[in-house]
Amino acid sequence: MNIVVAIKHIPSIADDLPVKGNNVDFDSVDFVLNEWDEHSIEQAVLIKEAVGGTVTVVGVDLIGELDNALHLALAKGADKVVKITADDPAADSHQQAKWLAEAIKGMGADMVFAGVQASNDIDGQIGPMIAAYLDMPYIGGTSAIEVSGNTATVSKEFPGGVGMKYSVTLPFVAGVQSAPKPPRYAPVSKVRQMAQTATIEKVAPTGEASAGLAFKKMAPPVATGHAEMIEGSPKEVAAKIVELLKSKGLA
C-alpha cells in the first residue's frame, strides 16, 4: 500500500497573530503543523501497520522551516518525506494543492490523505483540491479508514454522533478528521535522531493555481473581551435571555 500524506504548515494560533497590510504578518508568526495533519499521519501509519506498505509525507516548505515537521512525521512512522521548496509564506490552499498534486502525481499513490481542514483554509482545504487536480474521488471528515485489497472502508462522521460507512475503490483522497486512535507521541529524542540521519527529498514547485480571492482586509474580530452584561432584576434577566435564545432559534 502506497500512502501519501499531504501536510500543511500553518501560522500558529497559540500566539497573537499580527497583521500586515491585508494579510497575516508572516514574518512575526511561528509556523506549526496543522493539527489535523497529525491525525492523517496517524491514520496512514495505522494502515501501514495493518496491511504493510509505505507512508510518504509531503508538504510545501513555505518559510524554510518545514524540516522539523517532516522529522516528526518520520519519528511517528513515515518512511519517506518530501518537501516542495516554495519559499512563499502567503501561498494559498489552491496554489499549495496544485504544487502538492504535481509532486504526488509521480508517486503512484494508492491513497492520499490530508487533514480535513486547517485554520487558514480561507479558500478551502487542500484535500479536495488535490483530489480534483489528480482526478481522484474525495471523502472528508473521516474517523476511520480500513483497507482490504483494492477497497477501503471509510467511516465518515456526521453531527450528533451519527456515522456513515462507505466503500471506496482505490485510489482516492481522504480528508482525515480523526484517526481511530489518538495520534501517537513522538519522543523528541527520536525526532532529533531523524534530524541527524534522515534525508528529505526536495522538489521544486511546479504548476500554478490561484484562489481568485482579493484580500480586502484582515483584522481581529470586533473585540468581545468581556461578556455583554444583561442588566436588571432576575425576572428581567430571564426575559432577556429567553428573548435572545428565541431570536437565535435556540428556544
Binding site: 500558529s12 500566539d15 497573537d16 511561528d30 507521541y185 523528541v188 529524542s189 525526532v191
Partner: protein
C-alpha cells in the same frame, strides 16, 4: 564436648553450608553485576564505613515508626550479640572442656577476665530472653494482628508468590529459626549447669531449675542451636532476609549525587562498548545499584506509608516495586525462570498505571532505611515507555507537544510569556537586552495562569520596591524541564535545556532567582551537567535577604493571621529549603503552626512529576484535599478567631490547594495564599486581589 563422630559430622555440615552460602552470594553478586553502570560513586570505603556506623546505630529506620523501630533496634543488637554467642557455642562444641559457665571456672581463667566472662554470660542470657520476646512481637504483628502497613492495596501489581504469602512464609521461617535457635541455646546452657544456679545466667538457671542438668541434653540442644545456623545462613541469601547483609552495603553505595539530580537515561559510563537504549524495559536495564536495592529491601513498607499516590488509592506502591523485583530475581536466578530477566517490568514489577501515578515527590527514597530508590526505577520505566511508543495519557501528551512547540505546557504562544510584565506600572527589564543583577526565571504557571499572575506581578512589585535590579527573559524563557524529565521525556528535556542555555547565554546576570520550586530544582541540580554555571535562589531566600539587608521592612505586623506552611517537595525535601519561608513568616509576625507532616516529611500536593498534566483524574481523596484537612486539624488545636491561611511558595500549589479548599467545602474556613501576598501586606504594597476560579 562433641564426640569425634559429631565433630566430623559438624565439619561436613559446615562445608555444605558454606558451599550453599557462597553459591547464594555469588549468584546475588552476579545478578547485581548484570545491571547497567551507575553514576560514579566516590570514596566507597569511607561511605561503606559510614553506612556501617549508621546501621550499627540504626539511625535511618527512625525516620518513621518510632516504637517499632526501637524494637527493631533491639532485635538488631540481639542478633549482633548472637553472632558472638554462636562463636562461643561453636568453641564449646569443638574445644574439649571449653565452657564459660560459673564465671568460666572450668577454664581457670586469669582473674581479670572473670568480670568479662560474667558480663558475657549475663548479656547473652538476658539478650536471649529479649530476642524471644521481640521476635514474638514481630510474628504476632505479622500473623495475628496483620498490621495494615504490611499489606498492599488490591489494585497493586504483585508477584504471584507475594500474593500467595511468600513474604509471610519467609518471615515465619526466620522467626521460627530465631525462636528455636535461641531457645536451644538457652537450653544448652541450662543443661550444663550441673552445680545449680549461676547468678549471671538468670534465665538459664531458671530453666535448669525446671529441667535439671543433662549431658545428652547439652548435645541435643547444641545441635539444634548450631545445626540450625548451618541451615539458615545459606537460606538467608535466598530469602528477604538477605537484607541482613545487603542493607549496610546498599546504604554504603547509595546515591551520592544531589537528590534533585536524576540519573541519566543512558549511563554516562559505557562498559565493553555496550549500547544502551534510554530508560528501563527489563530488570537488567536498571543501574546495578538499583538491582541491589531489591536485595537490600527490608520490605518494611515505610515507603508505601508516605507515598501520596498510594494514599490516593492509585495502584502504586514503591515497596511492592522492590518486593516484586526481589521475587523476580529470585525466580530468575535461584528458580527455574531465567526468562524472567527479559520480562517487561511493566508486566512483572509495576503496572503501567502505577508508573504514571508517581508524583516524583521523593518521599519513598527519603524514608527508606536502606537507601533504596524506587522512584528512580519509575522514571527509568517511563523513559522507555515513551521511546517504545506506549500510549500515554492524552493530557500529558498535549502538554509535551505544547512544550515541544511553544516551550510551555499550556498551549500558549511563546510571545505571550512576558505579557504580564508588559502590563506592569513600571518597566520590567528584558535580561537578554540589558544586564541585570538578578535574572528571574518565572516559569509556566506563574507566566500564564490567570489565577497566579496577580502573585507574579506582586513579586515584581516587591522586587522593584526593594530596588532589586532584576529582569526576565520574556519569550526567550522556556519551561525549565524539571517535570518533563520526570515524566521520562529526556529528549524534550534536553531540548528545553538547550533553549534555556541559549537564552542565558544572551543575558548578563549574576544570579538566577525562581518563583517555581520545580524550575529551581532542575536549574540548580541538573543544568550544571549541561554547562550551567550560575547560582540559583528560590524567591523565599531572596526575599529574606532583602529583609535582612533592610531593603524591605515590615510596616504592618500580620498577627491577625493564623497560618501554616506547606513545604513544596522540590524546595523542601529535594533542596532543603525549609528555613527561609519559616523565617519570613516569623518576620511577618503571623501566628504560625506547623502541620504534623512538615519539612522532610511534607506530604506532596499531588501535582509533581507531570501529574498536573493528566487528563484523567482518578476518583478518591486527592493528596491536596488530605493536606487541607491536615491544616484544618492543626488549626483546631489552637482555636481563636484569627483568619486561617495556608501558605504556599509554589505556583502549582496555589492552583492545587485553591482547588482542594473548594472540593473539600472549606471555603471561608481556610484560604490559600502565596507567601508574596503576605509580604506585600506587611511591607505595605497594595493588597492583591484574591485568587479566583
Amino acid at each position: 564436648m562433641l564426640t569425634t563422630i559429631e565433630k566430623i559430622l559438624f565439619i561436613l555440615l559446615a562445608l555444605v553450608s558454606a558451599g550453599f552460602t557462597v553459591h547464594g552470594f555469588k549468584t546475588i553478586i552476579d545478578t547485581i553485576r548484570m545491571g547497567r553502570p551507575a553514576p560514579e560513586l566516590k570514596n566507597i570505603p569511607a561511605s561503606l564505613l559510614k553506612a556501617g556506623v549508621t546501621v550499627l546505630f540504626q539511625q535511618t529506620i527512625f525516620k518513621a515508626r518510632k516504637v517499632l523501630s526501637a524494637i527493631h533496634m533491639g532485635l538488631f543488637f540481639g542478633l549482633i550479640t548472637y553472632a558472638f554467642v554462636n562463636l562461643v557455642d561453636a568453641l564449646e562444641g569443638l574445644v574439649p572442656n571449653f565452657d564459660l559457665i560459673y564465671s568460666g571456672k572450668h577454664l581457670s581463667p586469669p582473674a581479670w577476665t572473670v568480670p568479662l566472662i560474667n558480663a558475657y554470660n549475663l548479656i547473652s542470657d538476658v539478650m536471649s530472653g529479649f530476642l524471644l520476646i521481640a521476635i514474638t512481637v514481630f510474628l504476632v504483628r505479622r500473623f495475628i494482628v496483620k498490621d495494615k502497613a504490611l499489606a498492599y492495596r488490591e489494585n497493586v501489581l504483585l508477584n504471584p508468590k507475594v500474593k500467595a504469602g511468600g513474604q509471610a512464609k519467609d518471615s515465619l521461617i526466620v522467626g521460627v529459626f530465631v525462636i528455636m535457635h535461641v531457645s536451644a541455646h538457652l537450653m544448652s546452657q541450662a543443661y550444663r549447669l550441673t552445680e545449680g544456679a549461676d547468678p549471671f545466667m538468670p534465665i538459664a538457671s531458671f530453666l535448669n531449675s525446671i529441667f535439671g542438668a543433662s549431658q545428652t541434653g547439652v548435645h541435643v540442644a547444641w545441635w539444634i542451636s548450631i545445626g540450625w545456623v548451618m541451615f539458615i545462613i545459606p537460606y538467608l541469601s535466598r530469602s528477604k532476609h538477605t537484607h541482613f547483609f545487603m542493607a549496610p552495603i546498599n546504604l554504603g553505595l547509595a546515591k551520592q549525587n544531589p537528590r534533585g539530580q536524576l540519573d541519566p537515561a543512558i549511563p554516562l559510563k559505557v562498559i565493553d562498548g555496550r549500547k544502551y537504549d534510554p530508560g528501563a524495559k527489563v530488570i537488567t536495564d536498571l543501574a546495578w545499584t538499583r538491582i541491589m536495592d531489591a536485595y537490600a529491601c527490608v520490605q518494611c513498607n515505610r515507603c508505601q506509608d508516605v507515598c501520596p499516590a498510594n494514599f490516593y488509592g492509585r495502584p502504586l506502591s514503591p515497596s511492592a516495586l522492590e518486593v516484586n523485583k526481589r521475587y523476580l530475581l529470585k525466580e530468575a536466578t535461584f528458580g527455574s525462570h531465567p526468562d524472567l530477566l527479559l520480562a517487561p517490568l511493566t508486566e512483572t514489577v509495576i503496572s503501567p498505571e502505577a508508573v504514571w501515578s508517581c508524583t516524583t515527590c521523593y518521599a519513598c527514597v527519603r524514608v527508606c532505611p536502606v537507601g533504596n530508590e524506587p522512584m528512580a526505577d519509575i522514571v527509568d520505566i517511563r523513559r522507555r515507555m515513551l521511546i517504545d511508543g506506549f500510549e500515554i495519557d492524552s493530557g500529558v501528551q498535549n502538554a509535551l507537544q505544547s512544550l515541544a512547540t511553544n516551550g510551555n505546557w499550556m498551549g500558549k504562544g511563546k510571545r505571550l510569556r512576558g505579557r504580564w510584565a508588559k502590563e506592569m506600572e513600571f518597566p520590567v527589564k528584558n535580561a537578554t537586552e540589558e544586564p541585570v543583577e538578578v535574572l528571574w526565571f518565572v516559569g509556566d504557571t506563574a507566566s500564564f495562569d490567570e489565577r497566579v499572575i496577580p502573585n507574579t506581578k506582586m513579586v515584581a512589585r516587591i522586587f522593584h520596591q526593594a530596588g532589586l535590579d532584576f529582569g526576565i527573559l520574556y519569550q526567550n524563557e522556556s519551561n525549565a524541564g524539571n517535570d518533563v524529565r520526570r515524566v521520562g521525556e529526556e529528549g524534550l528535556f534536553e531540548q528545553l535545556v538547550e533553549q534555556n542555555m541559549a537564552a542565558f547565554g544572551k543575558a548578563q546576570f549574576k544570579q538566577i532567582v525562581t518563583t517555581d520550586p520545580h524550575s529551581f530544582n532542575t536549574l540548580k541540580n541538573e543544568y550544571p551537567q549541561f554547562g550551567g554555571k550560575f547560582e540559583v535562589k528560590h524567591y523565599t531566600v531572596t526575599l529574606l535577604k532583602l529583609f535582612e539587608e533592610g531593603k524591605l521592612t515590615v510596616k504592618n505586623k500580620l498577627s491577625h493571621y493564623k497560618v501554616t506552611f506547606h513545604d513544596p517537595c522540590y524546595l523542601g525535601r529535594y533542596n532543603g529549603g525549609f528555613t527561609a519561608p519559616r523565617k519570613l513568616l516569623e518576620l511577618l509576625g503571623v501566628e504560625f503552626h506547623e502541620m504534623p507532616r512538615n519539612c522532610e516529611n511534607s506530604f506532596c500536593c499531588g501535582a509533581g512529576g507531570g501529574q498536573i498534566w493528566m487528563g484523567k483524574v482518578a476518583p478518591g481523596e486527592r493528596p491536596a484535599e488530605n493536606r487541607i484537612k491536615e491544616a484544618l486539624t492543626t488549626f483546631e488545636r489552637h482555636p481563636n478567631e484569627k483568619k486561617q491561611l495556608f501558605i504556599v511558595t509554589c505556583p502549582k500549589d496555589m492552583v492545587m490547594y485553591s482547588d482542594a479548599v473548594k472540593t473539600t467545602g472549606n471555603e471561608g474556613k481556610i484560604e490559600v495564599r502565596d507567601i508574596i501576598q503576605l509580604v506585600a501586606e506587611a511591607v505595605g504594597v497594595e493588597e492583591v486581589s484574591q485568587i479566583v476560579g
